[in-house]
């Protein structure tokens, strides 16, 4: 899905690996194992086998596994069909595939820091259909 070519500033928790603690990841955190604790990152990807228990703060969050407790997605939250997010959730934009699970206290927030809010209207005036 995501290119893990960029390694600088990234965290990868492999399947079968359990880590505990607080993590600050400037780039992408990919969790295929178990992570317990708080994590803040630019992007968090939770693989199908991944499990996070704790508080997650990120701009973009992709969930194919499970996320428990609390989540703040400052940009986008994607819950795929195998994914589950349970707990307090704050998001700016959300998308859930069918069978994705969302449970708890859900709140929509406005983009706070990064004020590059594009208009909701997608500009679909592509005159290429002549």
């Amino acid at each position: 899905m995501s290119d893990t070519v960029v390694q600088s500033g990234c965290l990868f928790v492999g399947e079968g690996v359990t880590v505990k603690g607080n993590f600050s990841v400037p780039n992408i955190a990919t969790v295929a194992g178990v992570l317990e604790g708080d994590i803040s990152a630019h992007q968090v990807n939770i693989s199908e086998t991944g499990f996070i228990k704790g508080s997650v703060k990120a701009d973009v969050v992709h969930v194919l596994g499970e996320l428990h407790d609390s989540l703040v997605a400052n940009k986008s939250l994607f819950i795929r069909s195998t994914g589950a997010v349970i707990g307090d959730v704050k998001y700016v934009e959300i998308e859930i595939e069918k069978n994705g699970v969302l449970q708890g206290q859900i709140e929509k927030i406005n983009r706070s820091d990064t004020e590059q809010t594009p208009p909701m209207e997608p500009l679909t005036n592509t005159p290429g259909e002549a």
Binding site: E93, I94, I96, N99
Partner: protein
């Protein structure tokens, strides 16, 4: 125009000759009982309804509806808004929905807003859709 007297089928035959349209097909509820095929009911744009709705069929809301709603399928179009206690097997939202919502399939469109206390079995949210409140999943099986 033509007056159909229910008592006189013989009169009807005469009038059929005058009217090019098909004569009144029996649309009585008793007649449709045999086939459980329901046409969707519609609350059209500009129409506001407050009260209780109980139906086994489907309802499309383009206007406003509030109250206690029990249905098997609820469609809320972009102009529609529904508020209250809603129970429906399927809810498809393109407009606004709020209140205490209990459903099987909940589909939230890209410009829809759903808020309140929500219980669902299956949930789909398209990008841009908004969901707020206390959300709980019932086991899908």
């Amino acid at each position: 125009m033509a007056i159909f007297s229910k008592g006189g089928p013989k009169d009807k035959e005469d009038e059929v000759l005058d009217l090019p349209e098909a004569p009144a097909a029996p649309e009585d509820q008793s007649a449709t009982n045999a086939a459980p095929q329901h046409k969707p009911s519609i609350i059209s744009e500009g129409f506001s309804f407050v009260g209780e709705v109980n139906a086994t069929g489907s309802l499309s809301v383009e206007g406003r509806l509030s109250g206690t709603i029990n249905l098997s399928a609820l469609n809320i179009s972009a102009t529609g808004s529904v508020d209250g206690i809603v129970n429906s097997a399927v809810i498809n939202v393109k407009g606004k929905l709020s209140g205490t919502i209990s459903c099987g399939d909940l589909i939230v469109g890209g410009r829809a807003t759903v808020s309140g206390k929500i219980t669902y079995k299956k949930l789909t949210i398209q990008k841009g859709g908004v969901i707020m409140g206390e959300i709980k999943q019932l086991s899908a099986n």
